[in-house]
């Protein structure tokens, strides 16, 4: 992209040729869109899998033409659980907010022409793509997809085909896919951090960075520290499966009447390594959404973010505490009560920065001239879901309560609200908000509002009743509990949730239509359709290859100067000099 001109200056030249421009591009904007489209593909797969699960829970005996054998087996159901979780967590919730929007907007928002290491950036995307190919391939290999859950718990995941269909080649592909994903994410995280540290425009101090940048920056730090640990675990697990080692596999295991030739390994060791990654991963999914929510709430309330510094520091605090609470996923593992207590207290302490954020979001809205545009609605939805889902986290943080609820739908409802759908709402808010910048046209507002209201109501219709199913003893991961008396009575609730799920999924087609229709038919956006303040809005839509057409901005003020008293204009862009701003008085 950059060639060394004879004058000694960097000249960014757009590559000619389709492949260098759109496929193996090193432009962070193209890579961002590639990540986004990958996530869009993945989310379609993930939703179809979840619908199949919901359908099976309600009609366990139904004949399905595409299932080998006609009726879905419990193993096939477990394969759906596994693949839905894996694809959604890794290839949607990690890929879209960070790889997609982070890649596209982090450099622009800090006034840089690209990421610090563009080639590394390209490599990150293509390794992620390979990882996606590997996980999809698990569907079609003999034995099919793995059945050990997105957490890949040992010993089930460590022994090969003897433990069930999908545990042969499918499980191996799962581990390979996750390991590749770890590598790609490490490279990506490295790039994000170096870019944020070294490529900020003059005047862009840390506390003038938009909260979105804070979100991506801290997320990248979490990724850097967490993915290496999962990679290490993945390598050890692969060795257990294929080289006969016993890192995670204990002695004396008899599976299907066969004594397994392993000795002395620790299944819990895998859980520790996995959750040391897995809990920060939750924040990797949600922190960018928090940044986007703050950003969008401020823009559409026409008010500065309330307590900007506290918001930035709360992101850091959540990231920091996120590394010390992995044990709360393992309360049932027989850990010492003292460890359980420590993990419990640390877990609940995350409520403090979370409450700071929620309080400040409400403070941002308070007294604002709120414009209910689609991005704003989704940002408000994010706050709502984050609070609803987060509250149940306080219950689950108690080891005694968790003992009862851990294996039930209560946990499923909790994490779907707080990290699943909340993060998805963050992605939607980001999509509606930045679409005009990325593609130069507006998305349809009526369709956006339709999409929001049905998705918002539908989400609560799916996951609120699910809490009660869990409280009533509905065990998760069971393919069919209709035959039991305690769970059979919950069946009408399952039916309701399934209908809600199908309606919510159907309305996503409205989003897809809106997304692709608006590419050609949306209203032309102009540079700054939302009257926003940050640097991405001072350049063209879509931005030129070097982001600012050679006129790199300097920054003179904070990111959220909305409705500043004494000014005729209710927003002051970050690059306005004091003299230029004085003209607006």
């Amino acid at each position: 992209m950059s060639s060394h001109a004879h004058t000694g200056h960097a000249v960014v030249v757009e590559p000619s040729g389709f492949i260098r421009k759109y496929i193996f591009s090193i432009d962070h904007k193209v890579i961002g869109i590639q990540y986004f489209l990958l996530a869009l593909t993945a989310v379609c797969v993930g939703i179809v899998l979840s619908l199949l699960m919901r359908f099976h829970l309600v009609y366990p005996g139904a004949h399905l033409p595409f299932v080998s054998g006609g009726i879905m087996t419990p193993e096939q159901y477990m394969a759906l659980v596994t693949m839905h979780g894996t694809i959604m967590v890794f290839f949607v919730l990690t890929t879209a907010p960070q790889g997609g929007f982070g890649n596209y907007f982090l450099p622009i928002q800090i006034g840089a022409p690209d990421m610090a290491f563009p080639r590394l950036n390209m490599l990150s995307f293509w390794v992620t793509f390979l990882a996606f190919v590997a996980i999809i391939a698990a569907f079609i290999v003999p034995g099919g997809a793995p059945i050990s859950g997105w957490t890949g718990y040992t010993p089930l995941s460590g022994m090969g085909e003897v433990t069930g269909p999908g545990e042969g080649m499918g499980q191996t592909l799962w581990i390979v896919s996750i390991s590749l994903f770890c590598l790609a994410s490490l490279l990506g995280a490295l790039n994000f951090i170096a870019t944020t540290i070294d490529l900020r425009a003059p005047g862009m101090t840390l506390f003038r960075m938009p909260l979105t940048v804070w979100g991506w920056f801290v997320t990248a730090i979490l990724g850097l520290l967490a993915f290496g640990v999962l990679l290490a675990g993945g390598i050890l697990l692969l060795l257990d499966r294929s080289a006969g080692t016993s890192f995670f596999l204990p002695a004396g295991l008899v599976v299907n009447d066969q004594l397994q030739p392993h000795s002395g390994g620790s299944p819990l060791l895998w859980q520790h390594l996995f959750w040391f990654f897995g809990h920060p991963e939750v924040y990797i999914a949600i922190l960018p959404g928090m940044g986007v929510a703050s950003h969008v709430l401020s823009t559409f309330a026409r008010k500065p973010v309330y307590g900007y510094r506290a918001m930035a520091m709360a992101i850091c605090a959540i990231g920091f505490l996120g590394f010390m609470v992995w044990g709360h996923h393992m309360f049932l593992s027989g850990m010492s009560p003292y460890s359980g207590f420590a993990f419990s207290v640390l877990t609940m302490s995350i409520g403090v920065p979370s409450a700071i954020k929620t309080f400040n979001w409400i403070g941002t809205l308070w007294g604002g001239k709120i414009q209910f545009k689609s991005p704003m609605l989704f940002a408000l939805g994010f706050v709502s879901l984050f609070v609803s889902g987060g509250l149940s986290g306080l219950f689950l943080a108690q080891p005694a309560v968790d003992n009862m609820l851990h294996a039930t739908y209560y946990v499923v409802a909790h994490f779907h609200l707080v990290m699943g759908v909340a993060a998805i709402f963050g992605i939607f808010a980001a999509t509606y908000f930045w679409y005009p910048k990325m593609f130069g046209r507006m998305m349809s507002e009526p369709l956006g509002k339709l999409h929001f209201w049905i998705t918002f109501a539908g989400t609560y219709c799916i996951f609120m009743p699910m809490h009660f199913v869990g409280l009533a003893g509905g065990i998760r991961r069971y393919a069919d509990a209709t035959g039991t008396t305690y769970a059979g009575v919950l069946q009408p609730v399952h039916v309701f949730m399934t209908y809600a799920a199908f309606i919510t999924a159907a309305v996503q087609l409205v989003f897809l239509f809106n997304f692709f229709w608006s590419l050609k038919h949306g209203a032309v956006a102009g540079k700054n359709p939302w009257n926003a303040t940050t640097l991405e809005w001072i350049t063209d839509s879509p931005p030129p290859i070097d982001n600012f057409g050679g006129h790199y901005p300097s920054v003179y003020r904070g990111p959220y100067e909305f409705s500043v008293p004494g000014y005729r204009q209710d927003f002051i862009p970050q690059d306005l000099t004091p003299e230029q701003a004085a003209l607006l008085k």
Binding site: S2, H4, A5, T7, G8, H9, A10, V11, V12, V13, E14, P113, D114, A116, F117, L186, A189, L190, N191, I193, A194, T195, I197, D198, L199, A201, P202, L224, L225, F227, G228, V229, L231, A232, G233, I235, L236, L239, A243, G244, T245, S246, F247, A251, S263, G264, G265, S266, L269, H272, L273, F276, P544, I545, D546, G549, G550, H551, Y552, S554
Partner: protein, 222 residues
């Protein structure tokens, strides 16, 4: 912005961007300082970003190895761990000495570079590369000795970890050797020579220190 160059540069300079608009030479030192990164050596990325990038990368590498180390400690102290300690091949002492020596020769090479003594730089850089290759050969010999003694990857957890640690570190060090060779034989367009050697040195010293740590762990912790 295809095509237009001169006009944009004048504007860049005119708006006071990019420090002193005139280009810096290719022998500039790392960093460049301030916010004048737009004009440093043609790539648009300040030299200090490479140093930052390597620092961050080493953080990630450290987490990877520490995950393995914590697994080692936990696994070893499991009840019924089936852990069978074995004698570390003696050649590892030699390998360790070689690797430590390579750090000194590398430091020497870099100080020669900073003293603008290109011949001295190349000499010590080459010596470092050869020591690195010797280390890797030594590690392979250690594996062969263990294999000859009937100690393989899957023999018992102690041997499993030994092979995992040495292989993971060896692969990382192989990367270091390739980086040494790359800097020696290929001109680096985006990095100045000073930055390239600094970044490679950081990596090399880190891998040296990491090996000493792993060696002591395998030696004393078995």
């Amino acid at each position: 912005m295809p095509g237009s160059t001169v006009a944009d540069e004048i504007e860049l300079i005119g708006t006071g961007r990019g420090g002193g608009g005139a280009s810096s030479g290719d022998d500039g030192n790392a960093g460049g300082g301030g916010d004048d990164w737009k004009d440093s050596s043609g790539s648009g990325v300040p030299q200090r970003a490479y140093v930052t990038g390597m620092t961050i990368a080493l953080g990630g590498v450290l987490m990877f190895f520490m995950a393995l180390v914590s697994a080692y400690i936990v696994r070893k102290d499991m009840p019924n761990s089936a852990w069978v300690p074995f004698n570390i091949p003696r050649i590892l002492w030699l390998n360790t000495a070689i690797l430590i020596a390579s750090s000194f020769t590398l430091a020497r090479s870099r100080s020669r570079l900073l003293a603008s003594d290109d011949a001295g730089f190349r000499h010590w850089w080459g010596v470092t590369t050869i020591l690195g290759i010797f280390f890797l050969i030594g590690q392979v010999i250690a594996w062969r000795q263990l294999a000859a003694a009937g100690v393989f990857l899957a023999t018992n957890p102690a041997s499993s970890f030994f092979y995992v640690f040495t292989a993971a570190h060896g692969l990382h060090l192989l990367g270091g050797v390739l980086a040494l060779l790359y800097v020696a034989f290929r001109p680096t367009h985006k990095l100045t020579k000073s930055t390239a050697t600094e970044v490679v040195s950081m990596y090399w010293h880190f891998m040296d220190g990491l090996w000493v740590f792993l060696f002591l762990l395998l030696l004393l912790g078995r």
